[in-house]
Amino acid sequence: MSLLTEFPKMGRTDLRDFKKAIDESFRDFTRNYGEAIENFFDPLLYFLVWLEKLFLNTPWPIIMAVIALLVYFGSRSIKLTIGAIIAFLLIGYLDMWEDTMATLAIISVATIVCISVGIPIGILMARSNRTQTVVTPILDIMQTIPSFVYLIPVVMLLGIGKVPGLLAVCIYAIPPIVRLTNLGIRLVDKDVMEASEAFGASYKQKLLDVQIPLALPNIFAGVNQTIMMALSMVVIASMIGVKGLGVPVLRAISNQYLALGVMNGLAIVVLAILFDRVSQSFGKRLQAHRESGHNV
């Protein structure tokens, strides 16, 4: 009878030992390989620190000019460019310049990492169904598991600092670019692929001349989503020692500073909107051939 009323469960001591065994083996792993892994990520750390310093040490008018130029060449829109200039002037005036630069640095590095890792994974996924079956659930986990859960092993392994923060951001932000690269390549018109095959194209020729160019709109949507998700991780990353707009937000939460929280939160929003609009209109312009009449 007791089987029906009470769920059959593992003995309390067994369960404790089981958890302990996992913890201990991971701790051993950390002890043995922690340093090697840390060294492995060193170049990334140097790059991030260098970029952050560059952003912070460059006089603000120059940064403003560069941002305005980038926005203009990305979007070809005067309105958006003026909007960006006003937003950044406001950010600086409200004393959020340094945090914004730090956030920009980590977002840029995270985006570069996600693109250079995510696109090749997406290509591999599109190439074989087996890879797709393996990778898809991993991406599901990365997107749905509470960030704090994977922060634990990351912090155990690398301690607190910029690199673990960057990793946390990347884990959360990489799935869209992988998914959309895979999807984009799979959606490439079968007739075009067949024609390419019939003319004797090799795998590399098909990939570079047909698949990637035709998947570009989707890949670009993936980049856009990745940037958005990276920005949304800024606050959580600040909990493990990443400088930027997340730090004051965190301080505002624990001290109930409404204005501080809202101001820094809005600065994140402004960055997000700018990245989004610029990258979207840039992506659209890459597709000049789609503009007219009959779509094939």
């Binding site: 019939a198 035709l214 094939v296």
Partner: protein, 348 residues
């Protein structure tokens, strides 16, 4: 025989998970529907044998589902056969390694597709040069050669347009130019003109025929349209349920249809435009009339004869009289036969 360019021998294609072991069943005579019902496999091609003559247009025609598009994809191995052989210039396509096959596709057989298969992100000129760029030919030469083909299909002035800016007919001209640009001897055309409207289609058929007069390619042309088959084909093979039910010249098929299916198929066509006077030639000394060549079609002969007011015509070949043809015989030949035209007959 040396004038055979492509020889398809005992080709079988079965779709399904265990196709290889089904071949023997089919060879023993199992029908398409039995194979599907009992074993869940689909019979795509059933013992196809076709010899394609060098520099001729071989039309393969059949209704949808007859396996014609499957068949043409075997020739450049876009689809792997279950059993059989395909010999091109003495080499068996099916025993080629991946690298050899790639080479074959690059330089020996190019293809034109029903849905064009153009690269939407490349301009017309770059689409035409696509086959050349795959071969690794340098850009300058590829563009120069492409320009020549763009001119010959009548697309001059559209080099820098994107495919989406062109009409269907013009897009298929790009497809044709792309296939011709690789200088392959064999041209595979998979329902190349079926997606075009009738006027444009007829236009493209003329383009193809006039190009063929200069180029003398070996063309394998797939169609479901009998008129197109008769207009283009030096030889025609009719495919049904994956099997060739009749092959030969247009005239042979019309005069001697192999079975009821073919008879039903050809009953609505304009025979006057296909049959030549030689097919109804006799030796009747009483007939007097104008002299006409033996390869004139009956439609034209009827006009000549009725204008002259005579009861027939004298047929000449190379200036020598070889026979006669009477007005009555010509009319009889093109009259729709009334037998075997039971319109309720359903073919699957």
């Amino acid at each position: 025989m040396s004038d055979i360019k492509v020889s398809i021998n005992n080709l079988y294609k079965i779709f399904g998970s265990d196709a290889a072991s089904m071949v023997d069943l089919v060879k023993e005579g199992m029908s398409k529907s039995d194979l599907l019902e009992k074993h869940g496999h689909v019979l795509g091609l059933d013992n196809v044998n076709i010899d394609v003559r060098k520099q001729q247009i071989q039309v393969i025609m059949g209704l949808s589902g007859s396996g014609k598009s499957t068949l043409i994809r075997h020739i450049n191995r876009l689809i792997e056969p279950t059993s059989g052989s395909i010999i091109v210039d003495g080499d068996d396509i099916l025993s080629m390694s991946l690298a050899e096959l790639r080479d074959f596709r690059r330089s020996k057989a190019s293809m034109v597709f029903q849905k064009f298969g153009l690269l939407p992100h490349r301009k017309v000129i770059d689409n035409v040069a696509y086959g050349l760029s795959i071969q690794g030919i340098n850009k300058e030469e590829a563009l120069a050669r492409s320009n020549k083909w763009i001119k010959s299909v009548g697309l001059t002035g559209f080099e820098n347009h994107y495919p989406s800016q062109l009409s269907g007919g013009m897009q298929q001209r790009v497809g044709l130019a792309r296939a011709l640009a690789t200088d392959a001897d064999i041209l595979l055309m998979d329902e190349a003109f079926s997606a075009l409207d009738p006027l444009i289609r007829s236009d493209m058929q003329d383009v193809l025929l006039s190009l063929q007069e200069q180029l003398h390619k070996t063309i394998i042309f797939i169609t479901h349209d009998l008129d197109e088959a008769l207009k283009l084909g030096d030889d025609i093979a009719i495919l049904r349920d994956g099997a060739v039910i009749q092959s030969g010249t247009a005239e042979k098929i019309i005069l001697h249809p192999a079975d009821d299916y073919v008879t039903d198929f050809i009953k609505d066509i304009n025979k006057a435009r296909v049959l030549k006077v030689s097919s109804v030639m006799a030796k009747d000394e009483k007939i007097k009339g104008p002299e006409i060549s033996d390869n004139v079609i009956i439609e034209d002969a009827l006009q000549t004869v009725s204008q002259s007011g005579s009861n027939g015509a004298i047929i000449v070949k190379n200036g020598k009289k070889i026979g006669t043809v009477s007005l009555t015989d010509m009319i009889m030949a093109i009259a729709r036969s009334t037998e075997n035209t039971d319109s309720d007959t359903v073919y699957r």
